[in-house]
Symmetry: C2
Subunit: 330 residues, 2 copies
């Protein structure tokens, strides 16, 4: 679900409600297996679902430019499968125990289960997208998936290091998050038969939107949100991931404060946020606001990319996505 | 390399020598990265190479039915990438320390490295095959990859269990090994423009060949081979994998001998082969020979599938593959 308030979700997906529901159904169909125990595991995976925000972007971009078809539903299912596969593998890598308030697969099964189910999802995604009438769809999705993996490799490479630069951070998030949003956004118009400039405009939207979404996600991980339920703060930091607010903060600190933040990043603290001290530093140095400014700039660029398209049928819905990216509705 | 005796390899790949060498080169090109440290890791992965037997089958089947082209080289690279990705993930799952006489990636790096590099290989493979002129190629490879994962899931599900049936074993090996050989064999003629019956005949060959190859591999894991260098025996058994000879043996045993083999499978022994006792039981009950008979029958079926094709340019080379599958040259 996109939001805790069903009215918002209903409004957001109103022009694509039928296809949005069809994606979930198709995903569950695709994840059936003749082996009952594999089927049970895959049903758990399908329920991981989350916001299905890539689907929303893909379908709204499709509806912006032409008729929404069964190909769009299949493409969205493939995108969600790639996203879910990367979550499964992330959880194995991070040895995460909880995701979206539920115990992770890797915390309840042999590591083979999430590793292989992730691989299975990857393969099913590519099989599904390779069957679509537009053949470059498969190239776009597989290239995005391979860069997504490179982004994850980089993120893991820079784990527990305090010398990650802003440029490296932006490179990582564009690969691991924005690109899949970008290809989802491009697949909508491309499969609706829209002209290439339109598809590329939506792709640029997806890049900016995805970057902003990840930056805000990284802020919420540190300072939370009144709407957040059952979320543990500072899990990125505890996992040695330096995100934008931390990079900005380290650049402003020296002496014991800097040593303190570095020690948190190195995993040398029981409480990943060091009690309230990290929060105080983040707020005193205004780095959460500075990071949110970055996100707002990327959103301005994202919406700027759609300007040449003038008015289009789902323009109001795209504007609702802005609040969602800024964390007001998630 | 296919064999320790270079002459055999030279003879085997003679009609496809140029393309066989090109596959290795293309694979290394594909695995380059702008990030030096990712490039280094990928070069290690490319060196994992092994026998490149799927490439040999694909190219010989191509040459059997028409001209060998750059598409065949790309398809072989994609198949090798899927195979290598599954090896990387297998090693993570099995926590294996050695492969082909070298320390595994997972024994020297954070588990994120082989998990994500495997994902990267999967994605690159699908991107490469999605670019080929024949679009069902991508569907065949991704469907084979997804069944390969299902085969691995099943194998892990039945780990340390002594009630695995012959039928379940054959289902697992056809999914995890034979199907990729089958699709490699089909891709050759399909991309050479051969008629569908020809492509399907080679696909059936690949299924039988792949089954036989895996059965013999499973035998060699238990009793070794005079040519095998630095191979630890009984690693499947130590990993709780009941292979055909063990299934056949358990069906013939009772009392303390059966309890002994079950305890090996349950991992309740320091030496995975229980000293010489397992070997004695395997030989006394003739189950290695019985398993090899199974392999020979599958090979007969494989070569039977090629009979309708009459004489074809690489027929002699295909016959050399029979010895290779039976373990005489590996």
């Amino acid at each position: 679900m996109v939001s805790d308030t069903p009215t918002d979700l209903t409004r957001l997906v109103a022009p694509i409600a039928v296809e949005f529901a069809a994606v979930d159904r198709r995903l569950r169909e695709e994840l059936r297996s003749q082996e009952p125990f594999i089927g049970d595991l895959l049903a758990e995976v399908a329920a991981l679902g989350g916001k299905r925000l890539r689907t929303v972007v893909l379908l709204l971009a499709a509806r912006a430019s032409g008729p929404v078809s069964a190909s769009h539903v299949d493409a969205a299912v493939a995108v969600e499968m790639v996203h879910t596969a990367s979550l499964l593998h992330d959880d194995v890598i991070d040895a995460a125990t909880m995701r979206r308030g539920r115990p992770t697969l890797n915390s309840r099964h042999h590591p083979s289960v999430p590793v292989l189910l992730g691989d299975h999802l990857f393969s099913r995604a590519f099989s599904l997208i390779a069957r679509l009438p537009r053949r470059d769809a498969a190239v776009w999705l597989s290239d995005a998936a391979s860069l997504l993996c490179q982004g994850e490799v980089l993120q893991n490479h820079y784990r527990a290091r305090w010398d990650l630069t802003e440029a490296q951070y932006f490179d990582i998030i564009s690969k691991k998050t924005a690109l899949l949003f970008a290809e989802a956004a491009r697949l909508g118009p491309a499969l609706a038969g829209a002209a290439e400039p339109c598809a590329l405009a939506f792709r640029r939207f997806g890049m900016g939107f995805g970057d902003a979404f990840q930056i805000i996600d990284d802020c919420l991980d540190l300072v939370g949100d009144e709407a957040a339920v059952g979320k543990t703060l500072g899990t990125d930091l505890a996992g040695g991931k330096a995100t934008l607010p931390i990079i900005l903060l380290l650049a402003r600190l020296d002496g014991p404060d800097r040593d303190f933040v570095r020690s948190l990043l190195a995993g040398e603290a029981a409480d990943p946020t060091g009690g309230g001290r990290l929060r105080d530093l983040l707020l005193r140095h205004g780095v959460i606001e500075a990071a949110r400014d970055h996100a707002r700039r990327r959103l301005d660029e994202a919406y700027g990319a759609l300007e040449p398209l003038g008015d289009f049928p789902t323009r109001a819905n795209f504007l609702m996505l802005r609040d969602l990216a800024l964390g007001r509705d998630r």
